[in-house]
Subunit: 255 residues, 2 copies
């Protein structure tokens, strides 16, 4: 099987033009088939502030009302996505920016209202692996925004970590998939105040231990759950690392 | 040669959800290969107002400073483009939203500073006809936002009428191209206050006459110049009409 790298970037890396440029430069040098998935980080909250639209978060997840959904389409689907595509084209990478609606790449279902109404948030139902494979085999590099659709005209906000894991899983039947989550820290840390406390390998029972001890917490928990899910579904390798280590073999490997 | 329809929509049609829905419904029923080009209309100016970013126009063209370019990427590249794509998918059309940077579909050059500095505005240099042809032959419908790139990482604001004409011209070597501009009025009017004064056919000498008499003026002049340019370069049919007449044969035909 051919190799396919699925790289997810988010947070500060996407917000700061210089760190983004550096990340995209490294990304462009990765050999073989690849897909980039991006978040949007705080640029959305900043625009919401400027427009007087309230940002509401629950358990680290954004509540997406109609006004916020418009911001998601603008900032993630437009500004960040097109900026990345233009920069990759400048680096000689034939990038194409896609939301889940484009080519029906990712169909999701609006999250049912339970204790919390997340609003226009979509849970991934189906990734169009054949359409993605058709693109990568033409040496086209898909750049996926965290925006999906229900195939009934509705756009939905979808977590970028989840999109990366869903895409990696869907492609695992066709390629030897490597999934890399780039974020601010060196990987999963045994002590969040000590950058040298990197956990080089993490399996599920260690993860449960760390969560129970309160060492791994907050947004790291769903990120790692996505990572374990990917391994379970046949993704060959999952690594969590800081963006500047994209090309090295450092970070936390999920087993 | 196969037939290809290039449809440009803009203005109020794009801004009002109901008129957009109705237009997309008609568009979805057009047989054969097709490409949609959209503007963004006043939604950009409205967002600029809310953010306190000044809108500056010269000769009906927007001056695009760095802050305005971000709005263009957000509103045209994100909000409007993704909304159209999701609606088309809901209508069973396999749409893909593209800026000029995606797949390097439209490369432009930043307009040189003359008497006026238009800022981040791009003049079309090259349309990637083979990439567009490869998409339409897979029954994929490209939805083009009025945003191009210089292939050196820079995004540029580009007039949607010009994009439609450039795409139509570039595809004229491969397809029998029909170009339709949809806008608010029934077509070119001999008396702008009388909707029944439609000019059913317009050739270049009539156009010059009408401009000299002040009958055709403002934003209609560059629109018609684009239309004549398309005819000169082998586009089979060019029509200017109101959106609700997309499927009829009414409007002004350019000869």
């Amino acid at each position: 099987m051919d190799k396919l790298s699925v790289i997810k970037v988010g947070g500060k890396v996407v917000e700061e033009l210089q760190s983004l440029e550096s990340l995209l430069h490294d990304f462009s040098s990765i050999k073989g088939y690849k897909i980039l998935v991006h978040g949007g980080g705080r640029s959305l909250s900043r625009l919401a502030d400027r427009l007087g639209i309230e940002t509401r978060m629950t358990n680290g997840r954004r509540i997406t009302d109609a006004a916020t959904l418009e911001l998601v389409a603008m900032v993630y689907g437009g500004l960040v996505n097109k900026r990345i595509v233009a920069q990759l084209q400048g680096l000689g990478v034939n990038a194409i920016g896609l939301s889940g609606a484009d080519l029906n790449i990712i169909r999701s279902v609006k999250r049912p209202v339970g204790e919390i109404d997340y609003g226009f948030v979509g849970d991934v139902e189906e990734v169009n692996a054949s359409a993605l494979a058709s693109l990568v085999m033409q040496d086209i590099v898909p750049v996926l925004a965290p925006l999906t659709h229900d195939r009934g005209s509705l756009l939905l906000n979808t977590n970028a970590d989840t999109i990366a894991a869903s895409v990696a899983k869907a492609m695992a039947g066709l390629y030897e998939v490597e999934l890399i989550y780039c974020f601010e820290k060196k990987g999963a840390l045994a002590d969040e105040n000590n950058d040298d406390s990197l956990i080089p390998e993490l399996n599920r029972s260690m993860f449960v231990d760390y969560v129970n001890k309160g060492v791994i917490r907050g947004g790291m928990i769903p990120k790692l759950e996505n990572a374990f899910d990917a391994i379970t579904w046949g993704v060959r390798s999952v690594r969590i690392t800081q963006a500047s280590d994209l090309l090295s073999m450092s970070g936390t490997f999920i087993r």
